[in-house]
């Protein structure tokens, strides 16, 4: 018998060797207590969370929690069914209504996760003979949506308007085309030049999907995302998003003004063939989405903290993924895996949690310590994190640029 797990020996061995040498597992962090959107207990130590995508700090919002508690009491723990069968409650409809109000769109469809929303929408929209044109740095869920579908898949160089134009120009004029973009790219925290890309895509007759997972809640006047901030809402055909970041729960969605949009509920397999979200989740998500529509003070706090953190790291000589704070993600570029792991561990041991990221999740050859800010981070927490970055860099011998 061939052991089908043998093919993973190399990656499992690499991890084991690291653990045997006393390293702490970067994919094995356990939180034994969560104290707030920015604080948790890890390894018995109170830790500042700086890598949770909990941008708007909604996880402990009292109204969100109250809605969740009421729904679990009144509608039970789960739906035990697909949206298409017994899994649609009033609260699922109310959640979709909240999304439609938030985005100002005619249609909204809730999936069980953001991953499934991309998997379902990308694989269903583009069929045999159609083309999906995606950014090289697209999220795994977009690549997987391509693998699941039957369309031909064309990849353009990250954020290059010129490369997108060139590759679209090579495709048959009569073929169906779906250009897939992200507002914020989650590894380096850079944003897409959406106005230019949308214009190019439209000129080639493509439909456009924008994933706003890391932008919802704090980009644009209504917090709708980079699409709104770039002024191209009326030209984007589909917006994909998630509840597991700014909304503070879990789930995914697609909103659109396309008159035929509702047909997707009949044909999108990751929507049909899975159980719907529990009532507590859709009820709390709806409350959170409606609160996010108006929370301009919180948005301003998030941007202030992000700029302070970016400026602080830059002044200390760290190399960052973007020259200025483009989003609420700040990626610290590291030289190699060993230094990244050592520094990640040093930060954790001093009470700061950030994300360790390596290829192939990151662009080729890049090792990162990735920070994501929360509107609830205090100036004191930011100052403490910056101190720990200094200390950790010194402890692992990371060479820093001369302070500007």
């Amino acid at each position: 018998m061939i052991d089908l797990l043998d093919k993973f020996d190399a990656i499992a061995g690499e991890r084991q060797a690291y653990l045997d040498a006393g390293g702490r597992d970067p994919v094995g962090v356990v939180m034994s207590k969560v104290l707030s959107p920015t604080r948790a207990v890890i390894n018995g130590r109170e830790t500042i969370l700086m890598g949770t995508y909990n941008y708007m700090g909604m996880t402990f919002d009292p109204d969100v929690i109250a809605a969740s508690e009421a729904a679990v009491r009144d509608f039970g723990a789960g739906t035990t069914g697909s949206r298409s069968l017994n899994g649609t409650y009033t609260s699922h409809r109310e959640c979709e209504a909240a999304l439609k109000d938030f985005y100002g769109t005619r249609h909204g469809m809730v999936f069980s996760t953001g991953y499934q929303a991309n998997l379902g929408v990308v694989s269903t929209l583009a069929g045999r003979g159609d083309y999906v044109i995606l950014d090289a740095d697209s999220h795994a869920s977009i690549y997987d949506g391509c693998s699941m579908g039957n369309a031909d898949v064309v990849r353009f160089r990250h954020n290059s308007v010129e490369d997108l134009d060139k590759r679209l120009g090579r495709l048959p004029a009569e073929a169906g085309k779906l250009v897939v973009l992200e507002g914020v790219y989650s590894m380096l925290g850079d944003i897409a030049p959406l106005a230019e890309m949308v214009a190019v895509a439209k000129r080639h007759g493509a439909m456009i999907l924008v994933d706003e997972a890391h932008a919802m809640g704090f980009f644009g006047e209504h917090g709708r995302g980079v699409t709104e901030a770039a002024g191209v809402e009326d030209q984007v055909d589909f917006i994909i998003g998630t509840f597991s970041k700014s909304v503070g729960t879990v789930g995914g969605f697609c909103v659109s003004n396309h008159p035929k949009f509702e047909a997707l509920r009949l044909v999108c397999r990751p929507y049909v063939f899975t159980a719907s979200l529990p009532p507590s989740i859709v009820a709390s998500s709806a409350v959170s989405i409606r609160k996010l529509m108006h929370d301009t003070a919180k948005r301003a706090r998030l941007w202030d903290s992000t700029r302070a953190m970016h400026a602080g790291l830059k002044a200390r000589g760290f190399t960052l993924g973007t020259a200025t704070a483009e989003s609420a993600i700040i990626a610290v570029l590291m030289p190699d895996q060993a230094t990244t792991l050592a520094m990640w561990q040093a930060l954790l041991e001093h009470g700061v949690y950030v994300n360790f990221a390596r290829p192939p999740a990151t662009p080729t050859g890049t090792y990162l310590l990735r920070c994501s800010l929360c509107a609830e981070h205090t100036p004191e927490q930011i100052a403490a994190i910056l101190r720990q970055f200094d200390a950790a860099a010194a402890a692992v011998g990371l060479r820093l640029a001369v302070a500007a």
Binding site: D152, V154, R155, F156, R167, R170, T364
Partner: protein
Amino acid sequence: MPARETIYARIVDLIGPLNKKAVPLAEDTSFSNDLEMDSLTVMDLVANIEDEWDIVLPLNMLPELETIGQVADAVAKLTK
């Protein structure tokens, strides 16, 4: 239309900078097994090949293109 030998020779040139371990390159050299390229590197190489001949080599074709010879055949077909 360029000749198959010309295409093969140019693909070998394009692989050069990515061939970190200086593996000898031949028709049956495999991208994953011999050159140990990860999926991102392969996709970057595909982008360069597309630009070289102004063709579309969709990512969903990649599972069929395991060796340098197979890629040369695919490019020859697309440039006909």
